[in-house]
């Protein structure tokens, strides 16, 4: 046996890959295949479902729930941009000025993750509460009308999503900023670049892998989220995740829900491919380094 393995050293990488591939095959590819199969079924829970190549599920998903699809992309997009704007300075500061506090500061970014997602979102329900400090302050500043509220508005939903996914943006940004060779920035300054110019011409391009990874890690789960919309939004703010959830669990209309899941997956995949082509695939793989 030992000799056999010795002769087939080339197999080692595949054997190392096997557990991961096996896991993905059983828990990702198989369910995905089943979901695809289900999305082309027709019928109902009373009489059972049958596979009928029911492409109509896809058509009605798009025509009936266009608003929710658009809203999901919109909210996830805004939240991603906000998360980028908020976390870039933070990641920059930790990477370049964090010094011996780096690890502690990073821990602070991750700290909210020690609490479950649901509880964090419920906490925002309290933070944005009608009688809470935030709303009272905004009323005082005439940004919210007296007697108005933030909960059950799109603002609350986007704020919740931004908060919940912020670490997914901040950490990749930190990693790519931290790897930048400071001597390159010094060299730029030696060549009479202003601080600003050095930042724009050297730091930003070198941090792009982190930006790409961060935006993808934020946007993709945010587009499918439904907890924030459910707890912080009004019915008018519900996203496609809410519709899928209700189709699966409330209406037991599994084919329609499966079709919507596929459309969402497809839309995100197309978006990611376009994005990757626009910024270059090396940025995408560069972030893995």
């Amino acid at each position: 046996m030992v000799a056999w393995l010795h002769r087939r050293r080339g197999l080692t990488p595949y054997m190392l890959l096997a557990p991961g591939l096996g896991f993905l095959a059983v828990f990702f590819v198989v369910p995905l295949g089943f979901l695809g199969y289900q999305s082309l079924q027709s019928g109902n829970i009373d009489f059972g479902y049958a596979f009928t190549w029911a492409w109509g599920n896809y058509k009605s998903a798009v025509t009936d729930y266009r608003a929710e699809f658009v809203r999901s992309i919109e909210y996830a997009g805004i939240a991603t941009v906000l998360a980028l704007v908020l976390s870039y300075p933070v990641a920059y500061w930790i990477a370049f000025r964090g010094g011996r506090w780096k690890n502690l500061l990073l821990l602070m970014i991750v700290a909210p993750f020690f609490v479950t997602y649901l509880i964090r979102t419920l906490a925002w329900e309290t933070i944005l509460s009608d009688n809470g400090l935030v709303v009272r302050t905004l009323v005082h500043l005439h940004l919210v009308s007296p007697g108005g509220h933030l909960l059950a508005t799109s603002t609350a939903v986007v704020a919740g999503i931004t908060y919940n996914f912020l670490p997914f943006m901040a950490l990749p940004l930190y990693v790519s900023l931290e790897q930048i060779d400071q001597r390159l920035i010094e060299a730029a300054q030696d060549l009479y670049a202003s601080n600003w110019k050095a930042f724009i011409r050297v730091t930003v391009p070198l941090s792009l892998p982190g930006v790409v990874a961060g935006t993808l890690l934020t946007f993709i789960p945010a587009a499918g989220d439904f907890i924030n919309a459910q707890l912080l939004g009004a019915p008018q703010n519900h996203m496609i995740g809410n519709v899928i959830q209700s189709k699966f669990l409330e209406l037991t209309d599994y084919p329609a829900a499966a079709a919507m899941s596929f459309i969402l997956m497809g839309a995100i995949l197309v978006g990611v491919i376009l994005y990757a082509r626009a910024v270059g695939t090396e940025q995408l793989s560069g972030s893995a380094v």
Partner: protein, 393 residues
């Protein structure tokens, strides 16, 4: 060095082979239609099982506040020698049904002897219609004579062959008196401009529509397209006008206590449990809804053991303790509405303040104001889809 490397590789290979061996039969068993467990537990033998597997909703049984144990279940074990494996894993009817329907549709047992589902959602009748419920062993349930009259012939199970009520509750309006004048009608709730953005509706179609149909002067126990459309349009208008802020399960209760909400469609038991003196609950002037959670033996469950347990809880003394608790022994009760005749008399001895609470032991007059929702409408896919689209999109 090479020696140790090879051992490690070999270990990995063996591990892989081993896990493949472990998972393949498991997968086959999971995918196959083998219903071994279902076949063995469904016996007609009148013998108690060692364990009774009971799935129920959260906070829905008597509890000893010090030990966190359930006194009625301990007494059951002492009396019959059967341990009750009590699991609080039901949060709403639809998702629980989603969890169990896969196994049941393949003829497999779900390893439960009793589950509890609500009559104003479609899944209770669906379980019976699909043949996924076992018939009760009525010879083991002489106490069925204590079942309150109004619950004896429900439309989904006219002779109570498959189900018995666990608890009932009423749906009405709750309001916070610090934020609003009393809200006593659905019209006030849905159309009073002072309450704009400060009210919620329940996300259960049966509850919400019963209240609105009664306010419209329609009969919720016989729903027609006309009465459905009228009630639906009225709620939709309140959503479009931003009068209704959200659709909720019982998560409206903390918001009402915090003051984010002034008033809400609400379940009586939630308000009894909160015990906040500023929050009041009432049956709306035009009437409220009555719903009942029912015990059911899913296919493959142990019929005799489950039936003996049902008989046990239909003993008025047992139900009295479960309902009202016992302050002397630091036991908190369920605080919903028991379906057992004589439970009030038993509760009076243990906890008079609960026994006299109108929300827990309602008077005949209150009960005459609450109505059941049409079970056919609950299974009307067109209505359900319209309703879900309203509340989730």
């Amino acid at each position: 060095m090479t020696q140790s490397q090879f051992t490690r590789q070999e270990l990995l290979r063996r591990g892989l082979a081993g896990s493949a061996l472990l998972t393949v039969p498991g997968l086959l068993a999971a995918c196959g239609s083998g219903s071994k467990s279902a076949a063995t537990t469904t016996g007609g033998t009148q013998q108690m099982a060692k364990t009774l597997h009971f799935s129920n909703w959260t906070l829905y049984i008597d509890v000893n506040n010090k030990t966190k144990s359930h006194p009625s279940l301990q007494e059951f074990q002492q009396k019959y020698g059967t341990h009750v494996d009590y699991v609080e894993d039901i949060n709403d009817n639809a998702s629980y049904f989603g969890k169990i329907q896969g196994a049941l549709s393949r003829g497999q047992s779900i390893n439960r002897d009793i589950v509890v589902l609500t009559d104003n959602d479609r899944y209770l009748s669906l379980m019976i219609k699909k043949g996924w419920a076992e018939k009760l062993d009525k010879s083991a349930i002489p106490n069925i004579k204590n079942l309150v009259e109004v619950q004896r012939h429900p439309t989904f199970d006219p002779n109570r062959e498959y189900s018995l009520p666990w608890q009932s509750g009423m749906t009405g309006i709750a309001y916070n008196d610090k934020l609003t004048d009393p809200v006593l009608t659905v019209t006030d709730l849905l159309e009073n401009p002072k309450l704009k953005g400060k009210v919620t509706s329940l996300n259960s179609m049966g509850d919400a529509l019963t209240l609105v149909m009664l306010a419209n002067g329609d009969d919720p126990s016989h729903v027609t397209d006309k009465s459905f459309n009228a009630a639906f349009a009225r709620i939709k208008k309140a959503v479009d006008d931003k009068q209704i802020r959200q659709f909720t399960g019982n998560d409206y209760a903390p918001s009402l206590a915090k003051g984010d909400l002034a008033a809400a469609m609400s379940w009586s038991g939630d308000i009894a449990q909160i015990g906040n003196s500023h929050i009041h609950w009432n049956v709306p002037k035009d009437g409220g809804a009555l719903w009942t959670d029912n015990m059911l033996i899913p296919k493959g469950g142990n019929v005799y053991t489950a039936s003996v347990y049902m008989n046990y809880v239909y003993d008025p003394a047992v139900m009295g303790l479960m309902e009202a608790g016992d302050p002397k022994r630091n036991i908190t009760g369920i605080y919903y509405i028991p379906p057992v005749i004589g439970a009030k008399a038993a509760a009076l001895k243990l906890n008079p303040s609960v026994a006299n609470n109108e929300l827990i032991f309602p008077s005949a007059e209150t009960l005459s104001q609450v109505h059941l929702f049409d079970s056919a409408a609950l299974n009307n896919q067109k209505y359900l889809t319209q309703w879900q689209n309203l509340i989730s999109g």
